[in-house]
Symmetry: C2
Subunit: 414 residues, 2 copies
Amino acid sequence: MTRVSRQASRLVADTPAIAEAHFRAEAYPYHPRLRRDGWLNLGTAENRLLADLHTGQRPPPLGEATTRYAPLYGTAELRERVAGHLGVDAEDLVVVAGATAALDVIASVLCDPGDGIVVPTPYYGAFDTDLAGRSGARLLPAPPDPADGYGLWPEGVRRVLAQARRAGTVVRAVALASPGNPTGSVHPAALLRELAAVAAEFGVDLIADEIYAGSVFEGDFTSLREIDGPRVHTVWGFAKDFGLSGLKAGVLHTPDPDVREAARALAYFAPLSTHTQAVLAELLAEPVRVTAFLAENRRRLGISYERAAGLLRAYGIPYAPARAGCSVWADLGAWLPPAGERALWRDILDGTRVSILPGEAFHAPRPGWFRVCHSLDAALVAEALTRLGRFLDGKGGPRGEGRQHTAGTAGSLV
Amino acid sequence: MTRVSRQASRLVADTPAIAEAHFRAEAYPYHPRLRRDGWLNLGTAENRLLADLHTGQRPPPLGEATTRYAPLYGTAELRERVAGHLGVDAEDLVVVAGATAALDVIASVLCDPGDGIVVPTPYYGAFDTDLAGRSGARLLPAPPDPADGYGLWPEGVRRVLAQARRAGTVVRAVALASPGNPTGSVHPAALLRELAAVAAEFGVDLIADEIYAGSVFEGDFTSLREIDGPRVHTVWGFAKDFGLSGLKAGVLHTPDPDVREAARALAYFAPLSTHTQAVLAELLAEPVRVTAFLAENRRRLGISYERAAGLLRAYGIPYAPARAGCSVWADLGAWLPPAGERALWRDILDGTRVSILPGEAFHAPRPGWFRVCHSLDAALVAEALTRLGRFLDGKGGPRGEGRQHTAGTAGSLV
């Protein structure tokens, strides 16, 4: 009998709930005519609003340049194009097979097994696997801003770092999604500066997953690498901003030469298809076209968010106001049964066939929060949120537009 | 100052010589008119004989099916096609970003850090990184057949397994390339059966890197999974048989349900672009076309090998007779200077600008062997081997066609 390694057993046991829920929901999708009893998948932050902008694009043909060995940390051509797009130096980029791989690479470069990475909550649930699954790092959750229950709170990060220091835990980095996921929030530059100061105080690096950098539909975005320099490692990709989740193209930017050399060595295990790199290089070939494409992405995401938020308001479901990304962070705390969040999640699945992910999957500091993704066909979102709203109505609980969010968010109607 | 993890430091220090030599040699390639002082790269086992068969092939367009999330261990469509091609069950396949990733996956599934994998020498040098770099396994080299100095020798494997058992080392697997690399040999089925018996005797799994399965130009090939069943894990890919090294498409076949589940979990870190999977599924769509393609591959490799072997014979350079793959294992032992193999390698690089890899990179049991790749433009191979032959002539040493191989190979003219 073959025995499976400890790491592999752990990975099997910890398979990200997000990935699992996605494929279950996608296996039998709702269709207004063909499968009215099908699933509505609002559980996956996949940007499906841009398909028509790509459809029919002919990829470059197969040939020497697109099928031969190329540097395993990215072709010079793609790195140059991405560098132009992000406004960085191509030498500082490492291209790998997806943002997950990029997160795994940077965590494995920074951490020995057992080392800590502090992560402000709520956080993208797959960080548990992406950052810790292969590196052996331990994620130390930091609390959100107590004022609203979900905002970035540098003081909370400082406290966890101080506590870890007292406990003798070696911490190598603070990691966060910026813009935020699941919240869709854009962390204010002042808070990012505070966070950088905290990291500097404790001598730890910063890892920013900026995969939604081009998906901010309200206000501006500042990359963490513009705020703090030498010890900031950022991750980006084509899944969200370009709606190309299946191409599995992840990019790591790091200004540190030692980290870069190590990241290149690790990229050897997860290279991106040379042909797909050629497809992406072509996509970025004309900056004017890219600018127009991203403007259209932001426009569509903004409309999609407003529609979803409107439906949540119509059913009296509070939520955290979002300015970016594919999801909204909704508070179903008022409908929480005594059996808890997981019971509510199952009730919703069974009662509506709508897949949304519970806050537990994002290390939410209290039960009742759910991530609701909206970046898909508007009719599907409307069907799903109507089902959800009616279902919650049937259970009793709050109702009525204009209800204030329980945790309160200064000035915003939630 | 950012400190790099122990694993990352080790990977930087151990960057496979093969990859490094490749990109150095490719940076300034020889051209008969434009760069007569350029490099001739016979160091990389890249199959460059098939480019014209792909050139102009239009890949499928970008669209929902080719750009959306798909199962991270391979789309159902590609796994079905590969299953048909290899004659296995699609459920037993895990598709990842390259054969390196597939080897990393299976080693990480089978081994805890410190566990051993026995590998008969000479072996594909990158195994050191592919099998051990991230899994933390230790490779235990086993000696080749003493009769010729390079053939598969199950008894040698048995001795290493017995020794490891006495030393208290936990060994999880025996790994080998089949067909062989660097030797290009096709291991006789009888020897593979003996090897399987040895593995069974010690209760260890078998890992067979069968990436050259469709590149056997003389005689038949038997997959190890046809010889032994439940504990054989095989790796295959599109780099050699289809000449598509840049697409980084690796396939792991495993019949064990626990291993498969664990391998799928690890595939999460190195998924293959959905679009590239669609390209490959299309390539395999018509079995008749695939059969013709592979026949042409074998024909071209056979011609290429015969040409290279003829040149080696013309300069009196002994070699192990090959029946598969992209390389020939040449014995320059007669020209070995007192300073050793590395000195000869440097002499050749400086004196000829021909890149071939020394046996040290393949854990050859004695110095003097070199792997000479021949699967590229015939004129380049001729130029390179002529330079090499003249260079060796200039150093003195043996000369003359028909010289017997020093180690002797029963019945074969080497």
